[in-house]
Structure formats: structure tokens, C-alpha cells
Subunit: 261 residues, 2 copies
């Protein structure tokens, strides 16, 4: 099942995507997804980030090749993480499928994509085992962890490098019933493949992150966990379009628009 | 005006604190604060964190003496931040006035308080000047940025060091009409003063943080910004009670309970 959040006119609602149609449901993501009877053409609605999370978690450096590349970029030896220490991103930065990535005028040319699988938590959990962890997942969506590398290297935190408004495109919808071990990610810029990887090559997988995090904190419905990206990444420029495709989910596509005040 | 969020029985509501009485209001924090007519004794209600923020910002190292102390703890030279680079904390960790700080059984003895002023954003803002910044503040509350220093030094991120469930007590309420330049913070453990400072000695003040953040991101009603703490901090042990008092707001008080699974 594909679950979207959308706007039509001045109304926002959740819906089930059925081919080219969106079947609106009553209430929110966790209100039973009962159809309201309203239907819309998929192309006629504006897709929104499929969930606004209570807490926005991000795995950060979680694939061997990306860790090695990032260390080389900093002139350091690669140092693989030994534990699933999770990081954070910010809700202000979320934007939907199709929305422009609005790049501030003072950003450097080092504006890069990171194509990621996003885990959406479906049930409250605390102290769950790795075997149980997937029982608490509602589904998966796609995220682009847009990063300004100069700010990332030079600021004390990643606040503007990764959390400038619109730097976190997410969508197009949440897909349920998937096996995370089978998810393959393909990243394209202007329809040229610039990276691809299998989620199951992550240093720490979905089960391990959820289990380890839940030893210290309570995950609640709607929390999201971005799983990190693999490989080297390249600069994007004004007018580029970045597409991230994940098997079983779909494609998140966003254009880059430079020079916002 | 003092604005609280509270629970009575199985109902949660906002209210105005008037001496020993809570005057319930209709709706949420941004629905006009119109009295519902219900009144409760302040001591008869459970105070909740006065807001659940869309994004939870934290200034981090923002006072000269604390920066120097933290550097010495790490065996490094103090390095004052040159820009108001904001960090993040997590909603899962929030807990209210009077609630226990529940310390995991595997925490080290280095469990410490940090008494902070919390800014609550009242209106959406983007690209505001320092002169305009305070127009977007609803009011101020108090936070205890509880930190497990061993995890803080050794984990890749501060996820469990600062964001374990209950490590972010906040309250008891939001006070409006205050001048941030006049706020004085006093921290006590078991009624012994362990630290005090004036907010106006911060490296970057409320106006500067809001203005600088708003150049890259949109602050929205309910967002919170914890301003950091000053001075050295000490370990707390099982049964200790940490009180943080800010002039014009009140006192946030939380006991420490060790050994949670």
C-alpha cells in the first residue's frame, strides 16, 4: 500500500495511491486510513512530505564507501562507526516531492544530494529486540539529505549545511509491506545515474538502529529515521533535477533553484 | 502572564497561572488563550512541558566560563564559538516540572545538570533583524539540559548523552513580558547553590540567535531555543533534586532516579 499526504485547494489530507488515483482517507496517518469516498487524480494534487515527525532521526555516516569518501574529503583516515549512534535533522527543512530545493545565495558550489531510505515508525516502542524491531515500522519513504559541504566542514553544527529550509525533500509517499533487505537505491541527476546501492550493505541496519535507540528512548508513531547514503556525492547546480528511486516505493524528484535571499 | 500546560484526570489543557489557581483556556497555546471557565488548584494538576516543539533548538556552548570548563574536561584549549551555530535536542526527552530524571542503569556517575533559559517562539519568522527578533518571542521557560558526560565524550553524537527519555525537563510554565537581558539563573542541587549566571553574559544572545537562524530557516510558533548554560557542572546522584530558578519565571524542580532498565 502507498500512503500519501496531499493538498488539494486549501485542504490537506491523507490518501491511498491506487494507480493514477488518490483515494482520500479520514483523519491522519494513524486514524485507520478509512476511505472518505473522495477521489482525486494523482497528477491533480500537491504531494506533501508524507509525515511531519515528532522527532527526526538520521543515521548519518552508515555505509562503508560513503565513510571512506567523506574522510578523504576531510583529508582524514576513514573511521567506521562502531555503534549505531543516531543524529538529528530538523522539521523546518522538510519539503515534498516535486518541490524546489531553494539554495541560499551565499551557499558555495558544494551543494550535494544524498539519496536515502527513510523508515517511518508506526507504533510506540521502547526496549525492543532486533528480532522485534520491524514490527514497529509502518513503512518506508525516500529522502534527499541535501548538504552544503563547505558549511558542513566549517560550522560547529550541521544546522544550515543540512537543515536550511527545503534541504530535506521527502516522499513521494510511504510504502508498506516492504522488506528492508531488498531495497535498492538509485540516484540520478538530470537522468544520469550518479550512485546506487543496496540498503542491506549499511553498516547498521534498520533492525539494529531501532533496537539500539529503543534502549534509551521511546520511538513514537510518525518518528522518522533516515538511513544514510552510500558512495561519493557530486555537486548540483541551478536547474539540476535530482531523482532518487527506491525499489517498491517510487521516485522522489526535486529541482535545484539557486540564489534565494 | 504565566501560561502552563497541565493534565487533570485524563484531560490535558492549557491554562493561565494566577497565584495558586490555574484558569483553564480553550484550545492550544496559539488559539487565543480564552478562558474556558474551569479553574483548578495549581497543586492539584500535573504540569506538563509547556510546549511540544516542532523543532527543538539548543545553543550548546554559549557562555565563556562553560566553554573553558568543557575544554579543560576534554584536555583541550578553550575555543570560543565564532558564530551562533545552533544545535538540536529531541522531543522524546522532554519531561515536566516535578517529573523524575530517569537514569539508565548503564550510565556512568557523570550525570550532570545544565540550567538554561528556554525561548519559546510565538510567530513564524524568516529573515528578521536583531532589532525585530524579540517581536517573534512568545515568552520564556526553564530547561535542564541533563547530560551524561562519558557518553557525550565517547559517542559519535549526543543522542543518548543528552536525549535519553526524561533528560530534558522543561517548565514549569511559559512567562511572557520579560526582558531577556534581565534574566538571572540560579541552579541548586539539594538546595545548595551550584551555579548562577546572567543570561546577558551569553556569547550570543536571544536576538542574535533568532536573527542568524532566520537567515536560513523558518522559525514557527512553538519552536523552542535552549540558550545554553554557564560555568562548571557537577555530578548528580540517585535521590538528588535539581532546582533551576530564573527571575520572573519561577523554579523547575526534578528529582534524579537511578537505575532504570
Amino acid at each position: 500500500m502507498l500512503i500519501c499526504r496531499f493538498r488539494t485547494g486549501d485542504r490537506e489530507a491523507y490518501g491511498i495511491v491506487d494507480g493514477d488515483t488518490v483515494l482520500e482517507v479520514q483523519g491522519g496517518l494513524f486514524d485507520g486510513l478509512k476511505e472518505s469516498g473522495n477521489k482525486y487524480g494523482l497528477s491533480s494534487v500537491k504531494l506533501l512530505p508524507p509525515v511531519v515527525p515528532p522527532t527526526f532521526y538520521a543515521a548519518g555516516i552508515n555505509f562503508p564507501e560513503h565513510v571512506t569518501w567523506a574522510a578523504q574529503m576531510r583529508g582524514e583516515e576513514p573511521n567506521l562507526p562502531k555503534k549505531a549512534d543516531v543524529g538529528y535533522r530538523a522539521v523546518n527543512a522538510l519539503t515534498g516531492h516535486g518541490d524546489p530545493i531553494m539554495v541560499p545565495a551565499d551557499a558555495t558550489e558544494e551543494l550535494q544530494y544524498e539519496g536515502e531510505v527513510v523508515v517511518v515508525i508506526g507504533k510506540e516502542c521502547r526496549n525492543v529486540s532486533q528480532d522485534e524491531a520491524l514490527d514497529y515500522v509502518l513503512g518506508y519513504t525516500i529522502g534527499n539529505d541535501v548538504s552544503e559541504r563547505y558549511w558542513q566542514r566549517n560550522d560547529r553544527t550541521m544546522w544550515r549545511a543540512k537543515n536550511t529550509d527545503t534541504f530535506k525533500p521527502m516522499g513521494p509517499w510511504i510504502a508498506t509491506g516492504l522488506n528492508p533487505d531488498e531495497l535498492h537505491v538509485t540516484i540520478q541527476v538530470n537522468e544520469r545515474v550518479v550512485g546506487e546501492y543496496d540498503l542491506n550493505t549499511a553498516i547498521f541496519g534498520v533492525r539494529e538502529y531501532i533496537s539500539d535507540m529503543s534502549k534509551y528512548l521511546t520511538l513514537v508513531p510518525g518518528d522518522i529515521l533516515w538511513m544514510g547514503t552510500d558512495g561519493a556525492t557530486e555537486n548540483m547546480k541551478d536547474g539540476d533535477v535530482c531523482d532518487i528511486t527506491v525499489t517498491g516505493i517510487g521516485t522522489l524528484s526535486n529541482p535545484v533553484v539557486w540564489g534565494q535571499a
